[in-house]
């Protein structure tokens, strides 16, 4: 079949440029860039600096380095730049520089990585300086024109005024002159208390096209002459393709190519994705399943259980003599908890489009880290970085899946390399997405608590056994067998992921056990299970000591004022200590991670049939500075859906070396009928910048689990909850 026969799109290259710009609303997407010389020549507006472009009509384009995946970072970062720029918010649009442009300009836009809730917390200072420097240059350009000192000029909403002479001028009128000035050396920033754009509950900039179907996701992206690919990788991790019979499907409708991808996968390339998938499903493939074909969830659990008592373990946090405290305790409480594999299950499955020639390799993909996507494209193509480019497309969900590992980018490039000159779009089926995730790690935890005769906690040993994400993805960061990220929320006092309790004798250690299932950073990362382990066990200790769970915690938190303040804020808003409605029970917890302090109180009931209803969750968060309270509320609600979906249903089961759950019918998630009311208390205390997208996910599950105990007397220690019968015994 000829190329022309599958060019069902009526789009020319020009109309792609226009169409994608239109589809992206005011955004100019990276994928316009292959034709950028033309585009830039036509619409050339010089930038004031790397962060700010101002058009003659006063339209302000703010460049955003981080990826937008629903979390609102695009709007929040634009607010920070616009705040310092003193422009008219109504005239603000945004665009993404490409990873290739960033490299070519000495990484002027800094890090593109969008994970770990760090979009705002790590780049706030330099993006604000970008906005402030641009403002200073605009003012200087106006002052130069008027021949007055810049200090005599003021700015509001993109209009510069010289009061003494009664003159004013718009940003659009001076931007070209400003762009020729030297950037200032000293760029003071506003005191956050003076903010008028940042800190306000503004609406997102990117909503309209999401309500009309116009927004172009990676799955929707098209190039002229593009073919479509479906892929099947060996379902047993680490296995390989033994053989496949392409002749069986070569005459099926639309099929163009049947291609090996690496040594473990086969792709079918066809005129449409439906044809590709249909043919792939009919393709006979024999797998060499390799050495892991007998691994099961049970065998993994047995291995991890052994780690709970293993002599060797890496220490994460230690003080006093925990062995002595346990030996001398009036009472010792010991319990084992576990947390299963989870799939990110982004609504948009993994996908990318690639165009390879001997001279150049380009990739268009939803990614949390454009630079990592570019690096993956370069490596897979064998071309130098300078001959490759990656164009970011807004993500249909990321949650960590589209950040550190770009396996789908490597695949699409491996396919494109076999059909040079022909663009190809690879879309995973949902089944492929479920089988080949980068899974939330599997761990178990044995907790041993020592109480004195008055019910005070004198010692705590937390032994975590299980998988290390860092060992799986960045093994070079493992030092002396120790993965520092394993201890999120359990670290010694400090600015990141520190434990909120002072226990006289404490030992938190990790026996690393890495199954063959590839781990990944999954929204909330290790804070998820660590908060469940610690906060549910603290609850157990409080009940064992006959004390109120809030009071028991407070007694351990005197030296942790930020943790305590947030816990108190949640407790107060929820009415902790007051009578709950008939049949409704409360649970409470707190933790700290991704730079922010968070706490929650959940209210649940459990009926005679064991059916759980989560009525309400009150969440409190101290992210230091709240750049957009309305979007923080949405992130808190959303994090609860993600965290509670995992707690209620989430479990990827290993059988015969592969995952069992292949779609949402067996991997259920929370839907609207189970959604509790969420009340968010934002208590920014200033002086630091914490994250928003992830921290609160970690308090949803322990608050609910502690409330379930209050309601039923049943302590759920193994997730997901669906495996526990909550009926009263």
């Amino acid at each position: 079949m000829s190329l022309a026969s599958v060019t069902d799109t009526k789009l020319s290259r020009r109309s792609i440029l226009k169409g994608s710009a239109a589809a992206a609303g005011a955004f100019s997407f990276g994928f316009a860039i292959p034709f950028a010389d033309e585009a830039q020549a036509q619409g050339a507006v010089p930038e004031v600096n790397a962060w700010v472009v101002i058009h003659p009509d006063d339209k302000v384009v703010i460049r955003i380095a981080r990826s937008e995946m629903g979390q609102g970072t695009l709007t929040g970062l634009a607010q920070l730049v616009a705040e310092e720029l003193d422009c008219d918010w109504a005239k603000v649009t945004t665009e993404y520089p490409t990873p290739g442009q960033n490299l070519a300009r000495n990484r002027v836009w800094g890090n593109f990585s969008t994970g770990g809730s760090r979009g705002i917390r790590e780049s706030n200072e330099y993006v604000r300086k970008g906005g402030a420097a641009a403002r200073m240059m605009m003012v200087q350009a106006a002052a130069d024109g008027w021949q007055v000192p810049a200090a005599e000029c003021s700015v509001a909403k993109g209009v510069i005024t010289h009061k003494a002479s009664g003159r004013s001028i718009r940003y659009g009128e001076v931007a070209a002159a400003a762009s020729k000035l030297q950037p200032p050396a000293n760029v003071p920033l506003k005191d956050p208390k003076d903010w008028i754009i940042a800190g306000k509950p503004l609406k997102r900039l990117d909503t309209a096209d999401k309500t009309t179907g116009k927004k172009v996701y990676g799955m929707d992206f098209k190039l002229p002459g593009m073919l479509n690919a479906a892929i099947k990788d060996c379902p047993v991790f680490g296995g390989k393709v033994k053989s496949f019979d392409a002749a069986k499907i070569k005459d099926m409708p639309g099929v163009k190519h049947v291609l090996p991808v690496g040594d473990s996968a086969i792709a079918v390339v066809a005129d449409s994705w439906w044809h590709a998938k249909t043919a792939l499903d009919a393709l006979p493939i024999t797998w060499d399943e390799g050495e892991h074909a007998k691994v099961s969830s049970e065998s993994i659990a047995a291995w991890l259980k052994e780690g709970l008592d293993a002599p060797q373990a890496a220490v994460g946090n230690q003080n006093g003599d925990v062995k002595g405290a346990i030996a001398n305790a009036a009472r010792v409480i010991e319990q084992v908890y576990s947390y299963p594999f989870q799939n990110h299950a982004c609504m948009e499955v993994m996908n990318a489009t690639a165009l390879y020639t001997a001279e150049r390799c380009e990739v268009w993909t939803p990614t949390q880290n454009g630079e990592a996507a570019l690096a993956a494209a370069a490596e897979a193509s064998g071309l130098p970085l300078a001959k490759c480019e990656a164009y970011k497309i807004d993500l249909g969900g990321g949650f960590g899946r589209r950040g550190a590992v770009h396996d789908w980018v490597r695949q699409v490039v491996a396919i494109a390399k076999q059909i040079p000159g022909t663009p190809v779009k690879l879309i995973w089926s949902r089944e492929e997405d479920m089988l080949h995730g980068r899974f939330h790690p599997v761990t178990q935890c044995k907790l041993t608590g020592a109480l004195d005769k008055d019910g005070n906690l004198t010692g705590l040993h937390m032994r975590i056994s299980g998988q290390s994400i860092v060992a799986g993805i960045f093994p070079q960061n493992i030092q002396n067998g120790r993965d520092p990220v394993v201890f999120q929320g359990l670290n010694p006092p400090g600015p990141e992921a520190s434990i909120g309790y002072t226990v006289p004798n404490l030992l938190i250690d990790h026996a690393m056990r890495n199954p063959h299932v590839p781990p990944g950073f999954w929204r909330g990362v290790n804070l998820n299970q660590n908060a469940i382990y610690l906060e549910c066990f603290i609850d157990e200790l409080a009940h064992a000591a006959g004390k109120d769970p809030l009071g028991f915690r407070r007694a351990l938190m005197k030296d942790h004022p930020k943790h305590l303040a947030v816990l108190n804020a949640a407790a107060e808003k929820a009415g902790w200590g007051t009578k709950a409605p008939e049949g409704v029970y409360r649970g409470i917890c707190q933790t700290m991670g991704f730079g922010s302090y968070v706490a929650a109180v959940a209210e649940v009931s459990v009926d005679a049939g064991g059916k759980l209803k989560i009525h309400r969750i009150v969440a409190a968060t101290d992210p230091g500075h709240a750049v957009n309270p309305a979007q923080i509320e949405r992130q808190v609600e959303g994090s609860f859906v993600y965290g509670l979906s995992a707690a209620l249903y989430g479990e990827c089961t290993v059988k015969d070396g592969r995952m069992v759950e292949e779609n949402f019918d067996s991997y259920q998630v929370m839907r609207m009928d189970e959604m509790p009311a969420v009340e968010t208390v934002i208590v920014p205390s200033g002086g630091f910048w914490g994250g928003v997208g992830e921290p609160t996910i970690a308090v949803a599950a322990p608050a609910v689990l502690n409330a379930i105990f209050a309601a039923t007397g049943k302590r759920v220690r193994n997730l997901p909850l669906k495996n526990t019968d909550l009926r009263k015994a």
Partner: protein
């Protein structure tokens, strides 16, 4: 071959009989607002209206449809994105990543057309679409807002 009525136009498409409506809409017609999420009618990202009824197009073979059945996709819901549900979505800043929202909006529009004053239980029963970002409470608030405005319905 199939003859379909999509967004008010009658269109001939050359596809195998068992091709799901979703992929006809996306790949033959070229309307990509309707999304693939699961392919097994679980998630609702592919929701379209067929004669006003919210239908998951990923499991609907094109051969099951006739040219008389009126199919409406998100692109055909309103001429300018000004359907009351779309306006409420913007007012409530509902979408996060937005990928599921075409399906959510189509499900919500069909719900209110059939049941202009839904109870919370009605909304929970009818709105079974999956959103991994967790916009459920905003979706619900937007639906209730439109219901309170009384702009939709057959009654």
């Amino acid at each position: 071959m199939a003859k379909l009525s999509i967004n008010g136009k009658t269109i001939d498409v050359a596809v195998e009989d068992d091709t799901p409506l979703l992929w006809v809409i996306r790949e033959q017609i070229g309307l990509t607002g309707t999304k693939y999420g699961c392919g097994v009618a679980q998630c609702g990202a592919c929701t379209v209206h067929i004669d006003g009824v919210a239908t998951r197009s990923c499991t609907m073979p094109v051969s099951a449809l006739t040219a008389e059945q009126k199919i409406v996709t998100i692109e055909g819901l309103s001429p300018d994105g000004n359907h009351p549900i779309q306006k409420a979505w913007i007012e409530h800043d509902v979408p996060q990543c937005g990928f599921c929202q075409s399906g959510m909006i189509m499900a919500a529009a069909a719900l209110l057309q059939a049941n202009p004053k839904p109870s919370d239980a009605d909304i929970a029963a009818e709105m079974t679409n999956i959103c991994r970002c967790g916009t459920y409470n905003r979706v619900k608030a937007a639906i209730k807002d439109v219901a309170a405005g009384g702009q939709l319905g057959r009654g």
